[in-house]
Each structure stands twice: as C-alpha cells, then as structure tokens.
Subunit: 355 residues, 2 copies
DNA sequence: AGAGGTACTACAAACGATTGCAGGAGAATC
DNA sequence: GATTCTCCTGCAATCGTTTGTAGTACCTCT
C-alpha cells in the first residue's frame, strides 16, 4: 500500500536513500483521488465537495499524514513564522536578563500562536550570526525585537534591515526609524504619582535617565514632571549612571539622593529593577519603607511581590502588549498599517506605598 | 541583469506573480558559473576551487543573495531547528511562569544557536494545537520540553509522540518513558544541608513533596533524608499541598510547620519559589531569619537576591543545563546516545543562612 | 604526440507541496 | 436525445535548493 510511484515513476536514478515519508500522493491513492485534490481538501478549499473532503481527511488520518511545511512554504513563499529577538547586554548571562522581557516574550509567543504563527526565538548579545538571518533566508515573515537598549550594535543591525524594507516592530524603540510599541507611560506615571500623592507623600523624587536612549524612561520622567507641576509640587530628578546593572543603578542613585541632603519622602523609580536596588539601599540606610519614605516602581515585576515591604508598581498589560506587537507586525506584513502602539497599564498597590 | 531565465525558460505559463527574489541562478549568471557550482561553493564543498569559491561569494554578496532555507530544507530533509516547548499550568498568565524556566529557555536558545540551530519556542497551557506540530510537519528536527509537571495532559502528548519514535528530551522528566536531564539534585541537596549544618542549624525541616510527579522534588527530598541520617540528625518532612501556586504552597507549609509544634531551627525548601513563600510566612509570624531560623532554597532564582534577608540557594548551572539538553537531543537525532543527564550545581550563600 | 590522470564544472532529477487551467460527469433544460 | 450548465477533479508547472553522474579542460609523463 501507499507506494508513491505516481510521482517517482520508473526513473529510479540513484536517489539519496532517506527514511520513507508519507506524502500527499499516498493519501491520494488511499482516498482514491488525485494529489491536488488532497491538497485542496486539506486546505479547506470550498471547491472540493464535502464528501470528498471527509474521505480525504479520513485517509490522511489513517496514514498519519501531515503537510510538510517546508514544501508548502517553498511553494507559497509564506513561512507562518515570526522571529522574536531578545537583545541582551553583551556577555550577559541569560539568567540576568530582565524578567520583564521574558514575560513579554511569553505573551508574544501566545499572541502569535493565537494568530496561527510560530515563533522563532533568539537571544542576541553579540552581532555575530545576525547577518541575513531573518527575512533574507525566508525563515520568518517578520521580526519583533525586544530587550535592553544598552546594546547599540545589535539594534543597529535591525535599523539597517528595517531601512531596507524588512517587516519589523520593536518594543520600547529607542530609535525613531523603527516602528515601536510601548507602555502607556503617561498614564502609568500619572497613576503612580497620583497614588503617592493620595497617600500623602509630597516630596517625590524620580530616579530616571533623561539622556538614555531608553525612550520609555524618558517618557516616564517627562510625565512625572508634568504630574508634579500639575499638583503644584516640585519635581526632583535623580539621574542614573550608565552601563551598570539596573539594581546597582538603583542602589547608587538612592545613595546619591540620601547624601545630597535633598529632602524627600517618596521615590518613583522608572523601572522595578531599579526600584529593587533602591529598596535594598534604603534598608542599608535604615530608611523605613513605607513609613518614612514611599517607593513605587514600574513594570510589575514578579520579584516585587516577594520583597519586604512588597513593591508597589505599575504593570503593563503583558497580554495586550504581546498581541499589539504581533498585530502590528502582521498588519505590516499584510501591507496595511496599524496605528495602535500603546499597551494599557494598571496600578499595583502593594506595601511600599501603604502608610 | 540577473534574470533567471536559465530556469524558467520559455514556459511562461501563467505563474503566480510574486515579488522578485534573487536565486542561486542569478548568482551563477553573475559569477559566470553554473547554479550547482554556486550551491557547492557556498556550502564550502572542497571540490570547488578556491578561486571559483571566492568569485561566487563575491557575486552573492553583490546581489545580496541568501540561501532560501525552505528550499534547502525541503531538499535535505533537515530543518536545522529545534522546538522548545514550555509547559504552563492551564490558564496561567505568562507572567506567572516560574522564572527558572525562562532562564533555562534562554540558555537552551543560546546552546542551540552555538550548534547552528534555530529554536522554535512555544508555550503550552492547553493541548490544543499540539497534534502533529513538530516532527510530523517537519518544522523541527526534535523537541525539548520544559516546564511545570502540574499539567498532566500536555505531557501526555509528548509521551505519546516519544513513544512513536520522535526525538524528544525533557527537563525534570516526571515520567520514565521520556529521556530526561535534571539538576544534580543529590549533590545540590548535600551542599544545602551541609551548609545549614556548618552554620550550626540542627533541626532542619524539609518542605517537599513525596508524591508529586516532580521527580526533582522527590530526589531532593530523598537526598535530604540521606544527608540528615548521615549526620545523625532527624529528618522532618513538611508536605506541600497540590495544585496551588508555589509561593502559596510555601506559605501554607510554613504555617503548618509553625502550628505543628514541631521544633525546628532551619528550613530547606525544595525550590526557591516555595522558599519565597516560606520567607513571607516567617515574616508574618515574626520569625527572625537567619537568627531564629535559617532558610535555604533551590534553583538560584534572581528574586532571591532582592528579598530581605536575601535567600541562600543552590543554583544549577543554567548554561550547562541548556547545552546538555541540546547536546542530548542532537545526539539522539544523530542516532548515537549521549548519557550525560545531570547539570552541575553550586551553592549560593546569602543572608538567610548567615548567623 | 598520445595516453592517463586530475580537478573542476554542468546537467538534470529529486524534495513535496500549491494552484491555474482544462476536462469530465451529471443534472437540467429544450 | 442533444445541448448547456454546474460542479468538481486531475494534469502539470512551479517554488529554489542539493547532489549523483557525466563531461570537459588542462597537465604530466613516456
């Protein structure tokens, strides 16, 4: 049964031996139809009759046949695959990657899967192996880029291929020539600052970076200034030092703030990793949280739930973020623009702001 | 320039229009050789002369040619891709996935990349879309499965395809019919328990599960019993409740231990997520750590570094774990067995055991 | 100069699907 | 019964590689 002689015929020219594989020709023979009908039936083409479709489906099931995606892709030119690249700091251990990106990665995979696409994931800390990896080799229909902005070189590659027409969307988007999706930073910051004010904090410092390419941080800082001014309060920036791990940046900024002599009764850190460092430094300096000083972060990291006191934060809707990225990319691939670019956020009230 | 008429010739039968794409025929024309020589040259076949090879490479670069992986895969039958499946609890938010698995995922991707393979990542909380996804459709050469053991159905699918000869390796491996890789739990537990003993703790309770399919937990518990007995100490099991989030399991087990009246001066939790819950419960009960009670976990979670006191733990070498998984799978695909199956571990001494 | 190597290169057949077009079997109409 | 439709199915080309085999050019040696 099921010899695919319809295809190979008599021409048994020394072919590479290979484990036998069930093809659509076998299914055709089994179902008593032609190979093209099998293809159409399985693709759900309405032109094949229901009866035939069922017969083919049954035969396929019986032979345990599955479409060879590679052949289908070769023919159609579509891969049904999205590449997801997570950019790390050079030499960074996988374990030290900001968990925020992992959560985002998870929801991107989920969203892609819901839309019937696979996800080809890679971690990039170096620019090796990047050249021509994605669309050029037809491995994916488009690319989603997420991860740290502190790896200029890796991003440069994506700016380049985006410039030459590749389908690419990224999270955070440090550079204007890349289509981006970000958290609703203005709203998130407003929630955080208003929450602090509601709790009675007034001298709220902000640990942030004005100069970093991290547009998200910049947006949050600017929104912070606006909120403070609207409330008739004085904004106070504590800048972070470049190139250090985020928690270390938090520790140092907190130390700088404490030593500056500047009065403060609350701290808004532009991301949770920084906030965790801040909290450690506060403990080291015997600053009582939330009694003496309130603290709130941004990103909704899981780790924030376990520290003492637990860390209040603003959490982007990961699920939404993932699907916005995927939808935007698919829209781009389809040739029609999609202007959604902000992921909704919500406030997580935890211990560090409850006085 | 570069019309691929060598191939399509005169037979311009109504073909689907499609964006033009540079093929090896174009490169052949550009370099003045045949298409097959282009293929061989680019593949580094030693049979083509160095001079020709360079000429071809140059032509390819000039035309910005890249091998179409789909065509290559169709022809060779190899995908150069490994599927990685992360099994979640049903309905679990991507954000709540144990970060341990994310770290592992990261190093698997890195290891695969080092061996020249792509990684097709998917998250599974349901068994939908699973049927025939992997080898049958030729999307990947093999599958690595990691994730929670508390999703019996998802694992069942992999047991089934493993049974029918699919190349598959998994982490933790709750069921014997799946080839597995695990942490060196015996050594890790020995490090943890000996560390507690060295610090002067004697009444060491173990929060674990004897019955869970999680073989890793079981191995750790058994090693704990051995270590305790070797040291002439009395082992004491505090069982976890099934089906709850890990941190909640930790909280409850700790509450149960405290209420049991059983004396204890240290706790060994079989994973960090549980340990974090234990720590919270200890705080809630005003148990001073590490003065009154010592605490150590397992897995080396990043979050453990930020809690107060910071959590001592045993960390598997993620990088090693990832490459062992990948090597084992590649060996399996290649048809030769690889017997390595234990990832090395190291002790992380942090605050929760420093008295 | 002719024979026998050596070292490349070209030809053409797969790989397994999708899909435009032509053709065939019935049913309906005259 | 012949003709026209309507549905469906089959033929065959095509996607862009890899690779077995055949062939050509150039050397070397006698």
């Amino acid at each position: 049964m099921g010899s695919n002689d319809t295809k190979s015929g008599e021409s048994q020219v020394a072919r590479t031996i290979r484990p036998y594989r069930v093809t659509s020709f076998d299914v055709a023979a089994e179902a008593g139809v032609s190979q093209s009908t099998v293809s159409r039936a399985l693709a759900g083409d309405p032109v094949v009759s229901e009866a035939t479709r069922l017969r083919v489906a049954e035969a396929a099931r019986r032979l345990n046949y599955h479409v060879d995606e590679n052949a289908a892709r070769l023919r159609t030119g579509k891969t049904g695959t999205l590449a997801v690249v997570l950019i790390c700091r050079p030499g960074e251990n996988r374990k030290d990657v900001n968990p925020f990106y992992f959560s985002l990665l998870g929801s991107i995979c989920a969203a892609a899967s819901n839309r019937g696409h696979e996800t080809l994931v890679s971690f990039q800390d170096t620019t090796e192996n990047l050249s021509g990896m994605y669309q050029e080799q037809r491995k994916a229909d488009g690319v989603i880029v997420i991860g740290t902005t502190e790896n200029r070189e890796a991003w440069a590659y994506f700016q380049e291929i985006a410039g030459s027409g590749a389908n690419i969307v990224c999270w955070g988007a440090p550079w204007d020539d890349l289509p981006w999706v970000r958290s609703d930073n203005a709203e998130g910051t407003r929630l955080a600052v208003r929450h602090l004010i509601d709790k009675g904090y007034r001298q709220i410092a902000c640990i942030a970076s004005e100069t970093s390419p991290q547009r998200q941080f910049k947006e949050r800082y600017e929104a912070y200034v606006t909120c403070m001014e609207d409330a008739g309060l004085q904004p106070h920036l504590v800048p972070i030092e470049k190139g250090l791990p985020r928690d270390e940046q938090g520790r140092r900024a907190m130390a700088a703030l404490a030593q500056s002599g500047q009065a403060f009764d609350a701290v808004f850190a532009v991301c949770d990793e920084i906030a965790l460092g801040v909290l450690e430094e506060m403990h080291a300096r015997a600053i009582r949280v939330p009694q003496d000083v309130g603290l709130i972060g941004f990103d909704g990291l899981r780790a924030g739930a376990h520290v003492t006191p637990s860390l209040s934060s603003v959490e982007p809707d990961f699920q939404a973020a993932g699907s916005i990225l995927v939808e935007k990319l698919l829209a781009m691939i389809g040739g029609k623009p999609d202007e959604t670019r902000r992921a909704p956020v919500r406030l997580i009230e935890r211990g560090s702001t409850q006085r």
